[in-house]
Amino acid sequence: MGCCKPCLTGTILKHPWTASVTIEDELQLCRISAVLKSLSPSILQISISDTGIGSCLEEFQDLNCSSIIAVEFWVGLNLGIVTDCTSLRVVVLYLQNLIFFVCKGIYCSFNYELKLSASNILFLKFLYYSVEQVNIAIELVTEREDIPGSRCENVFLANRSNPGPLSTSNVECLKSGLEDYVLKHGNSLTQKCNTCFATSERLKVGSGIACSTENHKSSGLVLEVVVIISELESKCPCYRECSFKTEVLYFKDFTPCSIPHPTLNVLSTIDWQSYGLTLENVVDQGVCVLEWGDSPSHSQIDMVLHCYHKQYPMHKTQLEQHLIKKAVTAALNNLKETHPGILRSAHALKICSHAPDLARSIAGLILSSNDPDFQGECFSLLGLHSREIGANVVEDCIQEKIVSVIEMNDRKSRQRNVVAPSLFEDDCDQDSNYQDKEYEEGEDEFSYLD
């Protein structure tokens, strides 16, 4: 119902939109709500109100932050609502590095100007931590103002033993957000494109995370990457030359922004070749676009990078460049592992082209033998049971196993040389003369008919 999926996971909103979060304890003694509304693509209105019963300012003077349990939600801002465990009385708002205290009983509202990227994307995510002693109810509502009937409501209960369905990681939210974005062709549609994505299997999703350590100097940096490969239908009106380009979405501390130049540079140094991709150009015109030299036809690659600090408030902003390579390759490897056959390196593709020949030879050897014991043993090793098997079945079975070994090796770290066992094992065990050399042709002075 409606187009804005509320944030059990994540969603990406487009102006005009409203979202509200209301938290109430089970005794209905305390209730806090925050309403966010986009007044324009770049102006966001945030209203916090607290309608609980009776309290006074003095109660907050001795507030001990260590006993605070946080309930947070991020709307492209470091917006936090922190309450203490018993009374849901304090709201702490932090926007970037500023911290506002809003005390219970005081209604406040302010406008906040956001610098948004040209694509007008907001990333809404709700993160929830467990509450110690109190059972609370949370209502989350999102709505697109320009689309009637798009309101989406969600109510759930949470406590320590049941933190609720919201304890999803940031990266899961990011995944969900990008999926949504891709399904709607980059938010150009209001709902999922049914021409391309009648079944959700057309999306292949991979994610990767890299962290830097927390210490007294830094609050620890996290970089999350999600990559989605989708197959588009040529008859879809949104189908364009998109398969050769990837627009890289970038979020910094939950805020969409343009990719910093050092990050762009690191992206161009990634070993795309080992995933079968050729990066031809990196374009930076406010929006970062990766242009590919070749790509499997009809396949679209989408990517989002999210860099954020683990702790708030941040003492110092940190640079993420050292994490980028790790996180991006982790995401690509994740894709490869969960969807065998995609992103094969050029090397693996080349080797795979020989697999049919090899399979045919081995199958030919098995099937032409006149020794039934030999054939039986071969079939059993291959997991084929009937004797009445055609050449094609045997060949296909062997080929499939060869290809899977090639892919498995392709996924392994490039630093580690894959050492395969040799066919006759007794050849070289005690041998100090063993040389791992490729055979060079034509070294002998006589290359005669011999």
Partner: protein, 373 residues
């Protein structure tokens, strides 16, 4: 007691077809086991290195005459996992498959026939005869069985003439074969079964066909009791095989070589004498004690100055390679050094300066004087 070199030698067995097929079947089973195990992989093929770096020499304990070269336990690898070398890996399996089928049919094919068959079945994998020949050696090296055991016959270029009788159901008298001589079969089994008889006192290896023909036509074996044999250039296995059989059957017959005075001629002599690397797993068996009759340095006085021609770069390459070989005898080394120093070479035909029948006289004189090294 096993000599030290015996432990190091790598050789190809001569096996009946059923055993070769069994080895191929073991290869397939090993491949499949490694492919389907818990930690699957595509196994590499380890082949004995057929390069001069892997050449070893076996010297006779008592005399220098029983020297031959062999290949030792140095390996090279054929693997699928390197894109540039993957095709060579595939070729080995293709040839194994073809040989397996040939052996099942109890047939034998020549290398040429095998090439054309492979070209039809797998045109993407094979592009030249040389490539096929090398792949065959890979299979020999992998399975450690002789080429002939794989069902492959190399057509022989060898001919024999002279005082040799092969008294089988069809009596063959090699002195009655005319100038063309009696062709040596490529079928080693057949050669192995030949019954031979001779009243010759010497065996002469002739490098070139033209010289062989001249000697056969002049019936030089009626004047001197010799058997003439030629491989018409570089010695093929069948010719070497037959020569070796003759040396075993008639051990008292010295074997002499009549080659051009150039590094290539000496190289041919050395191949008969010591064996070769290219087929190093098999050739060591057929090494014979061969002496150098002519053409030699002290014969140069017999030929006119004009018949001495400059050594080509290829000659010098061969000379260098021979020089570095530890098997080369002292006196042969001196001859080679003389060639290189003078920068000249000479062909046997230069002796025709004295008339076409001079060659026979020359040979006879040298033999009588025991003028061979």
């Amino acid at each position: 007691m096993k000599f030290f070199t015996d432990r190091e030698i790598c050789y190809a067995d001569i096996l009946p077809p059923s055993e070769v097929r069994a080895r191929i079947e073991v290869a397939v089973l090993n491949f499949l086991k490694i492919l389907t195990c818990a930690d699957p992989a595509i196994s590499d093929l380890l082949l004995i290195n057929r390069k001069s770096s892997n050449r070893r020499v076996s010297r006779g304990l008592l005399t220098d005459d029983d020297t031959w070269i062999f290949l030792s336990r140095s390996f090279c690898k054929r693997t699928l996992m390197r894109a540039n070398a993957a095709k060579a890996f595939i070729r080995v399996w293709k040839v194994m498959e073809m040989c397996f089928k040939i052996l099942l049919q109890e047939k034998r094919v020549t290398q040429r026939e095998l090439f054309y068959k492979l070209l039809c079945v797998s045109p993407d994998c094979f592009s030249s005869q040389l490539q096929v020949n090398r792949t065959i050696q890979d299979v020999v090296s992998l399975l450690r069985c002789s080429r002939f055991s794989l069902g492959i016959m190399a057509s022989s270029r060898g001919i024999v003439a002279g005082r040799l009788l092969e008294p089988d159901k069809e009596m063959v008298d090699c002195s009655e074969c005319g100038s063309s001589g009696y062709a040596i079969s490529g079928d080693l089994n057949l050669l192995d079964r030949l019954v031979m008889k001779t009243d010759a006192r010497y065996i002469i290896i002739v490098e070139k066909h033209a010289i062989f023909q001249r000697l056969a036509e002049d019936r030089v074996f009626n004047h001197i009791p010799v058997i003439l044999i030629t491989a018409r250039g570089y010695p093929d296995i069948a010719t070497r095989f037959l020569l070796h059989r003759m040396s075993r059957t008639f051990p008292e017959l010295p074997i002499m070589a009549l080659v051009d005075w150039n590094p290539a001629g000496l190289a041919i002599l050395c191949t008969f004498k010591f064996g070769s690397i290219g087929m190093g797993l098999e050739a060591y068996r057929y090494a014979c004690n061969v002496k150098w009759l002519g053409l030699r340095g002290d014969d140069l006085q017999l030929i006119p100055e004009e018949s001495l021609v400059s050594l080509k770069p290829r000659d010098l390459q061969i000379a260098k390679s021979l020089m570095s070989s530890e098997t080369l005898q002292e006196k042969h080394r001196e001859e080679l050094a003389l060639m290189v120093q003078s920068g000249k070479r000479a062909e046997i035909e230069a002796l025709y300066f004295h008339g076409y029948d001079y060659l026979g006289k020359y040979i006879a004189k040298k033999i009588v004087q025991a003028n061979y090294i």
